[in-house]
């Protein structure tokens, strides 16, 4: 897109943009170097005691301890476990919600719509607290239930949008060959909608994985609590920054590999969905995925970038 907006650069403009590019790179690198240096400089605190810089060996030697890595591994496992169980719950609820939302009977459709609106308008954190306090489930199940419910609502909306975007002929054909409305939905419409919405669903699961960190606040011992709360409490506050960086790196590695996978799926199933693709230019039908990694990836794979 942006390339159409200006003439193809000639040799002079190309040289100039190369110079600006290099200058920009240098500025960024200098800023980064300054940041690293500033963090590494020893600091004098208010009472005159000099603290070693952030890269000092006394702040990092703790990582030679095997127990630290075991604790971090335990945190990662706890995070993945919560994400896994919540993902299964979210997918199940998503299917249920999408069926309820597109049901023929008003008695099913309207209550489902109200529940969905309600759930999607609330912070996940508030739901966690609610479930924790009202049902006294313990932090783990509060987290799983809230994440499952919230993401289930969003996945349900995505699936519904997928079912709606199918050509009408699909349903008519199913009914014409004598399938009941329910089995038409199950065997004809749903499989197509699911495949088409797979990128959005996986992207929503990335969001779910990210959001497990909210369970930190209601007291579940996952990676964040283990890494930035328990370990520094045990080994001393001077390791706080080091632990933070390590936890950040672990989160980035987990989330990036999953969102890379989402993008891979999007690219693979994008063109295959062929005519069934929802118009990628149509405004997002699913309000909440806009804060997800997915909205971008899904829409881009659909056509945004390729135009």
């Amino acid at each position: 897109m942006s390339s159409v907006l200006y003439d193809a650069p000639g040799p002079k403009a190309r040289a100039r943009s190369r110079v600006i590019s290099v200058v920009g790179l240098v500025v960024v690198l200098v800023l980064l170097a300054w940041l690293v240096w500033a963090l590494g400089a020893p600091k004098a605190s208010a009472n005159g005691a000099v603290q070693p810089g952030m890269w000092d060996i006394t702040r990092w030697d703790v990582f030679s301890d095997r127990q630290v890595w075991l604790a971090l591994g335990k945190g990662v496992l706890a995070t993945l476990q919560m994400a896994g169980v919540a993902a299964v719950l979210a997918l199940t609820l998503g299917v249920v919600f999408s069926f309820g939302r597109s049901a023929d009977h008003k008695a099913i459709r309207i209550p489902t719509t109200i529940i969905l609106e309600f759930v999607r308008g609330l912070p996940v954190l508030l739901m966690m607290l609610f479930i924790l306090l009202v049902f006294a489930t313990g932090a783990y199940w509060a987290g799983v239930a809230a994440l499952g419910l919230y993401n289930g609502a969003i996945i349900g909306e995505a699936l519904r949008a997928g079912i709606q975007s199918l050509p009408r002929g699909q349903r008519e054909a199913g009914l014409a060959i004598g399938l009941t409305p329910l089995s038409t939905r199950f065997r004809i419409e749903f499989p197509q909608a699911f495949r088409q919405m797979l990128p959005i669903i996986i992207a929503q699961l990335v969001v779910l994985l990210k959001d497990t960190s909210l369970a930190f606040i209601v007291g579940y011992g996952e990676l964040l609590r283990e890494g930035v709360r328990n370990l520094p409490n045990f080994f001393g506050e001077r390791y706080q920054f080091s632990f933070f960086l390590v936890v950040l790196a672990i989160y980035l590695a987990m989330n990036m590999s999953l969102s890379w996978f989402a993008r891979f799926i999007a690219r693979r199933s994008g063109p295959k969905a062929g005519k069934l693709v929802v118009d990628p230019l149509a405004p997002e039908p699913i309000p909440d995925t806009s804060l997800s990694v997915g909205a971008g990836t899904g829409a881009d794979a659909g056509g945004g970038d390729s135009r």
Partner: protein
């Protein structure tokens, strides 16, 4: 119910703080997002890759971790302007890549033919951008942008866990004091959140209908 009525001033204060967080970090995210989006489509390669790296890194970091950095690590590094301001920084940083992505997909969503037509009738870069591309892009951007702000509204609740006295923090505190009326208290908090999110959602739906570009 009387736990809610007794503590109504607290709830209103929390509501005000939530709105404040939403407003200021929304403006901040918009400003940073516009900068990142324009870096992202700029003709200069190193700007583009810088913006891409920034987007990828921030988008894959959990909000809790970002706010933890702001509330604990920044003061530890001797930068502490107060928890409200720290939460504003965190929410701004966290939201900015999503704003940038919404803007970018809006610009990318304008068909290339529009730009080509503008160029071929002799409009300059600035003219084609301001008369042809932007009027269309802005329309397509507003609904997803409102959705980003709805999500931001919900995300402000995380700040409540990091010493900012907003709705979630109010709910937690009042629920601690009045263990017998937890349900009413949390439903009251939910009600205040729904006021913001459903209103924004309605606006988005209306704008979407009004500015829809016929293609």
């Amino acid at each position: 119910m009387d736990a809610v009525i007794e503590n109504l001033p607290l709830f209103l204060e929390g509501f005000r703080n939530t709105l404040g967080l939403l407003l200021f970090s929304g403006i901040g995210a918009l400003v940073v997002g516009i900068i990142v989006a324009s870096l992202r489509i700029s003709p200069i390669a190193s700007f583009r890759s810088f913006a891409t790296v920034y987007t990828e890194l921030v988008r894959n970091t959990p909000l809790t971790l970002v706010l933890f950095f702001c509330a604990f690590i920044l003061p530890y590094l001797q930068f502490s302007p107060g928890y409200f301001q720290l939460a504003l920084i965190g929410l701004t940083v966290y939201t900015s890549p999503f704003v940038a992505e919404a803007l970018r997909s809006g610009i990318n969503g304008v068909p290339v033919g529009q730009a080509e037509a503008a160029r071929s009738v002799g409009l300059t870069f600035g003219q084609s951008l301001s008369y042809v591309i932007m009027p269309q892009a802005v329309r397509m951007v507003i609904p997803p942008l409102i959705n980003v702000f709805i999500a931001l509204t919900k995300n402000t609740s995380v700040a409540g866990a990091f010493f900012v006295f907003e709705l979630f923090g109010v709910g937690r505190r009042v629920a601690n004091d009045r263990g017998d009326e937890v349900i009413a208290i949390l439903l009251a908090v939910a009600f205040f959140y729904l006021i913001i999110t459903i209103t924004l959602g309605q606006i988005a739906a209306r704008v979407e209908k009004k500015v829809a570009v016929l293609r």
